[in-house]
């Protein structure tokens, strides 16, 4: 007579296989943490000493001349350049991106939506250096004919950044809007609201956390973007006074100068100090985004 299934046991070595697989998964998970820590340590080791001893000077000067005989490492212009580009680009990309997200999720027909989503995803897949090309070859002459002395300037950088962040904003924004229960829409419309009133008074408030996360991730992307801004901002260390002034960002400075800096020298360390600052900024932005997502799940 055969043993009933309930009285049988799996062969013992299954337990060992289980153990090995569990171990592998654990290693994979931990490795992510290890890499982050390693990056942090690496950048920190090269730059933290410099950052601690020079921070006061870096934050009080606009003069970044690391290769002079008496080098100065004033950060202010670079910080302002970064904030300038990111801020300007968000002024464009946030309204346009969110409006596009609203259009896709609420007003577009199904066929339009599918088509536009593919287009938006394609936009997201364009490499950053290609955006740089577009900035240099198309926006540059365009801005010059609009009255700029140099077409490679802060505005050019902001436009390119805006174009690069748009796909992210649109697709994350659309996700956030579509996560709003259909019943809210119907309830609002059944109360006599027009579609626009429904979007403005119900949908946007209901999706606000998700939309905020989309914007924050967009900010993170903008702050960290390097190649395109290096190519199109004009790369001049100065505080911009008009839209057409060239600027320079933290990321572009690192990318442009690290190759020429003497390994271990002051300049080299200063660039790593910039890296720490960038790391810190994106870390904070991501943390806020993460916190917002959590709050959304709880609320």
């Amino acid at each position: 007579m055969t043993t009933p299934i309930a009285r049988r046991r799996p062969s013992p070595w299954i337990r060992y296989v289980e153990f090995v697989i569990e171990g592998l998964i654990r290693v994979c998970g931990l490795s992510a943490i290890v890499f982050i820590l390693a990056i942090f340590l690496f950048i920190g080791k090269e730059g933290i000493g410099f950052l601690l001893t020079h921070l006061g000077g870096m934050l009080s000067s606009t003069d970044w001349s690391p290769t002079h005989d008496t080098p100065t490492f004033g950060l202010v212009a670079l910080l302002v350049g970064t904030v300038w580009c990111v801020g300007l680009s968000l002024l464009v990309s946030v309204p346009v991106g969110l409006a596009a997200a609203v259009f896709l999720s609420e007003f577009a027909s199904d066929r339009w939506r599918e088509f536009l989503k593919v287009v938006v995803e394609l936009l997201a897949a364009i490499p950053s250096v290609v955006w740089g090309f577009i900035g240099v070859m198309m926006l540059n002459p365009l801005l010059q004919s609009a009255g700029a002395q140099v077409g490679l300037n802060g505005l050019n950088g902001a436009i390119v950044l805006a174009l690069m962040t748009l796909p992210l904003l649109v697709s994350l924004g659309e996700d956030a809007l579509r996560a709003v229960p259909e019943s809210y829409r119907q309830a609002a419309i059944a109360m006599g609201a027009t579609k626009w009133e429904m979007v403005w008074r119900v949908l946007l408030p209901a999706a606000r956390r998700g939309l905020l996360v989309a914007v924050l991730l967009g900010v993170g992307r903008c702050v960290g973007e390097t190649m395109a801004v290096l190519m199109v901002t004009g790369h001049a260390v100065r505080i911009p006074h008009s839209l057409y002034d060239p600027v320079r960002t933290l990321t572009a400075t690192i990318a442009a100068e690290l190759g020429e800096a003497v390994r271990g020298g002051e300049h080299y360390q200063a660039l790593f100090a910039l890296g720490i600052l960038l790391f810190f900024v994106t870390f904070v932005v991501n943390l806020v985004a993460d916190y917002t997502v959590r709050a959304r799940r709880m609320g």
């Binding site: 019943s183 109360m191 006599g192 408030p205």
Partner: protein
């Protein structure tokens, strides 16, 4: 009889599938029309044709007509129709805003701005919906934080906030407890002095308790309609008496 809402030869199809077939039915002014029938008999679809929320369903085709005080609802402004024909759906929908704003939502949209006037509307509607006593101290709380039964009454208060001519309730009691259900039924009995109420329900006893006129629908057709007291006792059609006696459904 003085009928505020008339449904004339109404048919509704979703694509190829006919869900309402040639229904003619009227709801009396200052009365409660109960519509009963098993699931899938077209009761809810019929309701959505009244305030044209059926327009949400792209595949829906409507034939025949619905008149509100003699005017075809398709000839009226759509937002007006929805303000005049209020709808309470089976599951409560607290909008993601405060209790107060939930009720003030529709009045605000038509331009009511004075705080005192809004306060008055909010208190009146919440009182009518038997919710005022429970929420009067926390009007600023998010409506979605209320319990299910409270949210359903909030939905009712919101529906009343436009002072509608017609109040449609689609199985309003499936998500709430019997005590609250009875309280709302009592409220409906009072409200019918001011408006026409159309009550779709699976609870035969609910229709029997409060409906003045009851209609029985089956497979999209209107089988029979009559004064509630008579229908439940002397149904002419054997299908009606079988259903009302609980033999199927």
């Amino acid at each position: 009889m003085d009928d505020l809402v008339r449904i004339e030869n109404l048919s509704i199809r979703y694509g190829e599938k006919a869900v309402v077939r040639n229904v003619t039915l009227a709801a009396p002014r200052n009365g409660i029309l109960g519509i009963v029938g098993p699931a899938g008999s077209g009761k809810s679809s019929l309701l959505t044709a009244l305030n044209r929320t059926i327009d949400f369903v792209p595949s829906a085709r409507v034939e025949g007509r619905v008149t509100l005080d003699g005017a075809d609802v398709r000839s009226l402004d759509i937002s007006d129709v929805r303000r005049r024909v209020a709808m309470v759906l089976p599951l409560p929908v607290g909008l993601p805003m405060s209790v107060y704003e939930n009720v003030a939502f529709a009045p605000r949209m038509v331009g009511v701005k004075r705080r005192a006037e809004l306060d008055e509307i909010v208190e009146r509607c919440l009182t009518q919906a038997a919710l005022w006593e429970e929420v009067k101290d926390r009007l600023n709380m998010l409506g979605t934080r209320l319990s299910g039964g409270q949210q359903q009454r909030l939905t009712l208060a919101r529906a009343l906030s436009t002072d509608p001519d017609v109040l449609c309730l689609d199985e309003f009691s499936i998500a709430i407890d019997p005590v609250t259900t009875m309280r709302i039924e009592a409220v409906l009995m009072e409200l019918k002095a001011h408006m026409t109420i159309i009550l779709v329900t699976n609870l035969l006893m609910q229709a029997r308790r409060i409906a003045d006129v009851t209609a029985f629908m089956l497979n999209g057709e209107l089988v029979e309609v009559g004064r509630t007291g008579e229908l439940f006792v002397f149904a002419r059609d054997p299908r009606t008496s079988d259903y009302l006696a609980g033999k199927f459904g």
